[in-house]
Subunit: 516 residues, 2 copies
C-alpha cells in the first residue's frame, strides 16, 4: 500500500522498497510520467453541462477537482473553511498565525521576505501531474536542494556525538564496501557467481567505484574528507586518509539518512515554487475566482432524492447548497466531526482512520550554515531528538533565512507531551549539536504540529487496511472522496491532484451513463 | 598536480583521486573553506599607496587582482583586449559573436532571454573564494543542477545503443554490489576481515544499501526503474524487477559517468549566477569602473629600471603605461605571441606550456527534455561521440532553452578536424540517440572551441611539469603571473581568484620589505 509510503520516509532503519504484490500490471517502459501539461481528463468535452457539483475543502485535491470540473462544463462551488486556499499547502510568513484546536495561537513574526512551507515543500520531477499544473498555471519554479554533501549525519552514540559530514560518510561507506567486495572476489569467494572475465572487470570497476588504490584498498579520496582545499601556487589538495571505519559506520546506522536521496520521490531534481509552495493553490484560486467560497465551514452533508444538500456557515449565517454530486476533499479527521449522511461502511472508515501528527519547527536565523559550513539547502540527519535539520533552498546568500530543526511525527520520543518551550529547547539543541555556538542564533520559533492545527487535526493518513481503502475510494451514492488519502502517494500534492482528477473522471462516467 | 585535475574530469575510465604526495601538510579539519565573505588579503592596510600596478588581462584572475589591489591602496590599471570583462567567463546571448583566430565568425541568434555559459558554468559550494566574491558583490545565485536521476547513460555497444536512465544504472549497480558482498560474507569469505558481530550488521546494512530482499537478493527497488508511478485509487507503484545485469553494467563502463557527481568539485550543492556566469565579471567591472581599459590588447612588456613598461593599442593608437609591477593574467597562449622581456626560464615555460581545446556546442530548442523526460538540469553521459549532453538549470519550465550537446576536448575522436557542419551533425545525432525524434528540434548551434577562440587559443593549461609550475608561480623581476594556470584548481574560477589574491599578496610582501 502506498498509504504507508510517507510513514516509511519518516522512519529510520527500515528496509527500502515496496511489496511486489501489485494488482495492476501496466508497463510504461522507460518513459516516465510526462509533465508536458495537465493531460486532459478522460471525459468527453462538455460532459458536465447542466450538472451541479459541490466540492468540500479547498486544498490541492479540492482545487484540482473544481479546476477540472469547470473545464468539463460543470457548475461547481468549493466550500473552504479557512480564509485561504491550499490546506496543508501553506507558506507561513510574517502576520500569519498557527492556530491549534486547543486555542493556542502562535504568531509568525519573521523578517520581510522569509517564509516556511509548513506542509509540502518539495516537487519531485517525476510528480508529473502537479508539475503539469504548475506549467499550465505558470507558477515559476526553482530548484529545491534535497541533497547537499556538506550537510551532516549525527548520532549521539558515535564519534562523541560529533557529526560526520555527508560527503565523508557516503563515500567512506562505498569505499569500504568496494574494498571488501574486491577482496572477496580476489580470494575466489564468488567464483561461482562471476565469470573469469567479469572478475577482472569487477575489480577494475571497484577501483573506480570505491575508489580503491592500486592494491585495492580504500584510503579516502577527494570525494570524502579534504583536509586542505587546493588553491594558488603551492597550495595543493590534501585528502584525509583517515577514513571512518566500517565498524563505526555500522554503529552509526547512518544508511537510511544516506539513502533517502535515492528514493523515487526524493531523487534529484526536485523543485519548489519561487516565493513558496502556496503559489500553487493561489494560482488555482486565482483561476477559479468566485467558485471558491472562503470562511465557509461545512456543518452538514445530506443525501437528497436528486443528489446532495450541504449546509455551511458564512459570516455567522447558516447557508445551504444543493448539488447533483459532492466531492469530499477534506481530511477525514474533520469530516468525522460533521453530521454526514454516510452509509455504515464509509462512516466506519471515516471514523476510524488513523492520522499521523508530523510537525515542523522553523526558526529565523542568520545563514551561518552557508557562511561557515558551505551548506546551501539539503538536510542533516540525526539519530536522536527532533530530526532532520533542513536548510533553505530559496534566497541563497541572503542575510537571513528560515531553518527547520525537527520535521517528524510528534509520537517520536513522546514529543507531543512536551510544552512548546520544551519543544523549542530540544529543537535548538539539535542545531547546537551540528553547528556549535549557533544554537543562540535561532529566533522566533514556531511549532506547526499538524495534529493540533485547526481544520486539519493530522498531517496525513497512516496505514489503512486494503478493505477500508477500497471503501474510501468508492463513492457513497452522490458523495465522492478525494484527497491524498485516496491515493498511493500519501502526503504529497501528487496524490491529492491525481485523486481530484480521478473523482471527476468517475463522476463524469456516471453523468454520461445517466444521459445515455 | 591540480593541473591535471580538469583533464581528469574530461576523461572517462581513469581511477579517481589525487596522488597522495603532497608538499604542504596543513590540516583544516572538518570545517570546510568558508564563504562568509572574501577574507581579507594577507597584507597591511594601505600597503599599496604610492605603488603603480598594471594588470594584463581582465578575466577573473585579473579582475580579482585589481579589486584586491585597489583595497590596499595601489594605483591599478587593467588592460583587456576584448570589449568586455571575464575572458572565458562569457554568457553568450543574441547578438554575440564567437570569433576564431582563422577569421571564422559565428553569430549567436538565440531567442530573447536565452544564454549559454561558454566557459565556467558551475560554482561548487566548496569554492569559498569565488563564492565569497559573489556574496561581497551581491551577485544573485541560483542552484545549478549537476545531478538528475532522470538523465541518461548511453553506450552504442550496449543495450542496442538505447540509453539507461541514471536512476536505474546507479541503483542497479549498488544493488548488485550489495548482493555479491552479502553473499561473500554469508559464505565466510571475509571472516578474517569482519568480526562475528559486524557480519550480521553488514548483512542488515546491505539489505538497505542494496536494497536487497529478505533472501539478500537484489530485485530492483523504487530507486531504480518504475514501470508505473503510483496515483489515485487503485493505481499502485509497479517496480521493474528486471534489473540491468552486472555483466551489462560492466560492459557499459558507465561508472565514471555515475561517479562524477561525487567528485569534490562536482558535489551538490552547486550554484550559478541568475542570468549567467558573466554576472560575476560584470559585477567586478562595475565596481572597478575606469580601472579596466577595454579594447586594449597588449603588444609589448618591457622591464625598466623602476619596474615595467607595457605597450598596448587603443582605438588604433599605440599607448604605453609604466608601473612598478605587472601582473600577467592572460593565457600563456596569448602571452607567447607578445614581445615580452622575460628571463629564459619563464620564456621557455610560457612558450612550451600545452593547452587543452575544450569546446561546447549549445543549441536552442523547445524543452522536450523537461516536458517529455522530466529532466530538469543535469547531464547525460555517452560513451561515443560528443559528450555529455547538458540540460539547463535556469528558467525551468520556460518554453525554450539552451541545451549543450558536446563539452569535451577537440582532440577526442579527432573532432577538431571536422567542418562546422560535420560537428553540428554529430552533436545533433547525440541528442537523437538519447531523445529519439528530438534531434530535429535543435536550432542555431554554435561551436565554441576555445582552442580557436580569439584572445584565448586554449581552454585551460594541460599537464605541466612540477619544475615548470614552480617557475610559472614565481615572479620574473617585477612581473608576476596569475590565472587558473598558476593554481591547483585549473579550469575553475576558484583557481583564477586564488591566484589573483596570491599575486597581490606576494607583491605586497615585496612592497613592504622595500619600504622597511
Amino acid at each position: 500500500m502506498g498509504i504507508s509510503r510517507r510513514d516509511f520516509l519518516m522512519r529510520v532503519g527500515q528496509a527500502g522498497g515496496y511489496s511486489a504484490a501489485f494488482t495492476t500490471m501496466q508497463s510504461l517502459g522507460l518513459m516516465p510520467m510526462k509533465a508536458s501539461a495537465a493531460t486532459p481528463i478522460a471525459a468527453a468535452a462538455g460532459v458536465g453541462k447542466g450538472t451541479k457539483l459541490v466540492v468540500l475543502g479547498g486544498g490541492i485535491a479540492g482545487l484540482v477537482t473544481a479546476y477540472e470540473a469547470r473545464k468539463l462544463g460543470y457548475d461547481v462551488t468549493v466550500l473552504e473553511a479557512r480564509h485561504r486556499p491550499g490546506g496543508r499547502n501553506w507558506s507561513a510568513k510574517n502576520g500569519d498565525v498557527v492556530e491549534f484546536i486547543d486555542g493556542t495561537k502562535q504568531n509568525v513574526t519573521w523578517s520581510e521576505g522569509l517564509y516556511q512551507n509548513m506542509g509540502p515543500a518539495r516537487l519531485p520531477s517525476v510528480h508529473g501531474t502537479i508539475l503539469g499544473y504548475c506549467r499550465e498555471l505558470k507558477v515559476p519554479l526553482e530548484v529545491q536542494v534535497n541533497t547537499s554533501r556538506s550537510s551532516f549525519l549525527q548520532n549521539d552514540a558515535v564519534n562523541g556525538g560529533k557529526p560526520y559530514v555527508q560527503r565523508q560518510a557516503v563515500n567512506d561507506t562505498r569505499g569500504h564496501v568496494s574494498e571488501l567486495l574486491s577482496k572477496a572476489i580476489k580470494g575466489g569467494a564468488l567464483d561461482q557467481d562471476i565469470t573469469v572475465e567479469d572478475r577482472q572487470r569487477m575489480i577494475a570497476f571497484l577501483r573506480i567505484y570505491g575508489p580503491l588504490d592500486r592494491t585495492n584498498v580504500y584510503k579516502g579520496s577527494d570525494r570524502a574528507l579534504i583536509k586542505q582545499y587546493p588553491g594558488a601556487g603551492s597550495q595543493e589538495m590534501i585528502i584525509d586518509a583517515e577514513t571512518v571505519p566500517m565498524h563505526t559506520l555500522l554503529d552509526a546506522n547512518f544508511w537510511t539518512g544516506m539513502l533517502y536521496e535515492e528514493a523515487w520521490d526524493w531523487q534529484a531534481t526536485m523543485m519548489e515554487p519561487v516565493g513558496g509552495m502556496a503559489q500553487i493553490p493561489y494560482a488555482f484560486a486565482k483561476s477559479l475566482g468566485p467558485i471558491v467560497v472562503y470562511d465557509a465551514p461545512v456543518t452538514e452533508i445530506a443525501k437528497t432524492p436528486k443528489g446532495v444538500k450541504v449546509t455551511y456557515t458564512k459570516a455567522g449565517a447558516t447557508k445551504t447548497i444543493e448539488a447533483d454530486y459532492a466531492v469530499c476533499a477534506m481530511p477525514l479527521t474533520i469530516l468525522r466531526k460533521i453530521k454526514a449522511d454516510l452509509d455504515a461502511d464509509h462512516k466506519r472508515v471515516v471514523d476510524t482512520a488513523v492520522y499521523r501528527g508530523s510537525y515542523k519547527i522553523p526558526w529565523e536565523s542568520k545563514r551561518f550554515w552557508e557562511t561557515d559550513y558551505n551548506i546551501y539547502g539539503g538536510l542533516s540527519f540525526m539519530a536522536q531528538g527532533p530530526n532532520p535539520v533542513w536548510y533553505p533552498s530559496c534566497n541563497l546568500m541572503a542575510e537571513r533565512g528560515i531553518i527547520v530543526s525537527g520535521y517528524q511525527d510528534d509520537s517520536y520520543e513522546n514529543f507531543a507531551a512536551l510544552t512548546l518551550e520544551e519543544k523549542f529547547a530540544k529543537s535548538r539543541a539539535q542545531v547546537e549539536k551540528l553547528h556549535p555556538g549557533h544554537g543562540k542564533d535561532l529566533e522566533k520559533p514556531v511549532f506547526c504540529g499538524w495534529r493540533q492545527v485547526k481544520w486539519n487535526e493530522g498531517s496525513w493518513i497512516g496505514g489503512i487496511p486494503q478493505k477500508d481503502y477500497n471503501i474510501l475510494t468508492s463513492p457513497d451514492g452522490p458523495i465522492y472522496f478525494a484527497g491524498d488519502h485516496t491515493s498511493h502517494v500519501v502526503g504529497w500534492q501528487e496524490g491529492a491532484a491525481t485523486s481530484g482528477r480521478r473523482a471527476i473522471e468517475m463522476i463524469s462516467d456516471k453523468v454520461k451513463a445517466a444521459k445515455a
